[in-house]
Symmetry: C2
Subunit: 154 residues, 2 copies
């Protein structure tokens, strides 16, 4: 079983930026329904195929499999829905937590979102100063929706 518990926030300012370079991510969807999504991702030199179920609160079923990066590239080019999502992911440590900050490009340029994965939904989160409004329950911020309704057109 996979289960992903994740809270999502908007990001304020640039204080989170570390010296470490981010990882460029390109991803697309073979399926992007409310009930489930099938995502193809190329992150650096790594390809993954990820199946996610419906979001319930901050949790959803998640199954992730590494696939050859060449396959992932072909799937992105040949079979995924358009447009693809492009973003740079930065991992930022704070108070023992690891935040993933995604800086979107393309039609979603201007959007920066921070996510934190939790062990369970009741786990306390210590938000750093650069964390803004929580958007965990807002479906517009699901990547599976951002390619269809990009930030630039909100």
């Amino acid at each position: 079983m996979g289960r992903e518990i994740e809270r999502k926030f908007l990001v304020i300012g640039d204080d989170w930026r570390q010296r470490a370079a981010g990882t460029t991510i390109r991803q697309g969807y073979l399926c992007s329904l409310k009930e489930r999504s099938v995502r193809v991702r190329v992150a650096g030199d790594r390809g993954t195929l990820t199946i996610k179920g419906m979001v319930v609160g901050a949790a959803r079923a998640e199954y992730e499999y590494e696939i050859p990066v060449g396959d992932a590239e072909e799937l992105l080019i040949g079979l995924c829905e358009r447009p693809l999502i492009e973003k740079t992911r930065y991992r930022v440590g704070n108070a023992g937590d690891t935040w993933e900050v995604d800086v979107f490009a393309g039609d979603n340029a201007g959007l920066t979102v921070a996510e934190i994965e939790l062990e369970d939904e009741s786990q306390a989160v210590v938000p750093p100063d650069w964390i803004g409004e929580e958007v965990t329950g807002d479906p517009r911020y699901l990547n599976a929706n951002l390619f269809k309704h990009p930030f630039s057109r909100w």
Copy 2:
């Protein structure tokens, strides 16, 4: 890259049955569009996730990944479209070729289909006596359609 080239035929009579037992297959779809399908399959003790592209002639893109059989069972139960497809697959040798004969159950009971995988589309096929009408180009026989429009309701 994966590419599947396959011809499909109806089956006449029972002469193809061998002593070897067949493999029970349960499969479902996370996505079943004309342009692409994402299939979850449990065949015996093996789980697979298979992405297929649009059928062009007898060929289509195909990417198949083995996944833990427990994951495959969970995906079938929790996330795949309903109903699932159940069938028994028999591998039958003939004239150096291997035919896969699928005997469907459930809503598709009464349907038996034989498939042969080819190296290229021009490869000659020697059909045994028990091979009937070719249905390669008929979308009704795609498994991704058989669960939505089962044989019993044709």
